[in-house]
């Protein structure tokens, strides 16, 4: 059986991304593996075994093309309104809180925030299937 263990995104500036994911989501560097032409940084938290893998290609300065296929990484939090306020105070410009209902019941309560390279992260209230 296959186990999902990480998601990889390419980023331009290691320090900028590590700072963002740290303050926004409490992720820290579990490992940093340096190769000749690239560096891999594994971000994780005690909350989950899944990791975010950052790839920094050395010498790359041109922004990556985000396309329109990949959507986002989602995280769940205990109190989405508190988190949104916290990220706002940190200057991370979270989007509006959105309530998505289905059959008259709450399906998801969430907002999006954008990382330094333009990747969207969905921050969901821990509710329903988003635990």
């Amino acid at each position: 059986m296959a186990k999902m263990i990480h998601s990889m995104i390419r980023v331009l500036d290691e320090a900028r991304s590590v700072a963002f994911y740290g303050k926004a989501f409490g992720l820290s560097v579990a490992d940093r593996v340096d190769f000749e032409t690239f560096t891999l940084i594994y971000l994780s938290s005690a909350e989950t075994g899944f990791e975010l893998e950052l790839t920094v290609n050395k010498g790359r300065t041109e922004p990556y093309d985000l396309g329109n296929a990949y959507g986002h990484l989602a995280v769940s939090v205990e109190e989405v309104t508190v988190e949104r306020e916290r990220l706002s105070k940190l200057g991370l410009k979270p989007g509006q809180l959105v309530e998505l209902n289905r059959d008259g019941k709450l399906f998801g309560l969430f907002f999006f925030v954008t990382d330094p390279d333009g990747y969207k992260i969905e921050v969901l209230q821990r509710h329903g299937r988003f635990l």
Copy 2:
């Protein structure tokens, strides 16, 4: 604290993607949530709490632009050579097995396979930090 709970990708053909992720990685549909203009499909396995969220935008036929920013979803398996052979027999055209060493030691043993929409999935031997 934020917990990573899913990764979302946009796909064109629900049945095609569900079949691929099922036979390639043993993921099954944990939930399917239909809205007026889109459908969300949550794929998971007993191996992990993390899910892959497929978004199908109704009426969309034009392939999505994958860009060059997002990298891949990674899964770990017990026996990567056995898995590669199995995927090959299924006609899924896995790439070559790659051995990545660092400081004279095995860092990662893996291959890539491509899903029906062109997303890359890295299949790693369960080893080192890839557990």
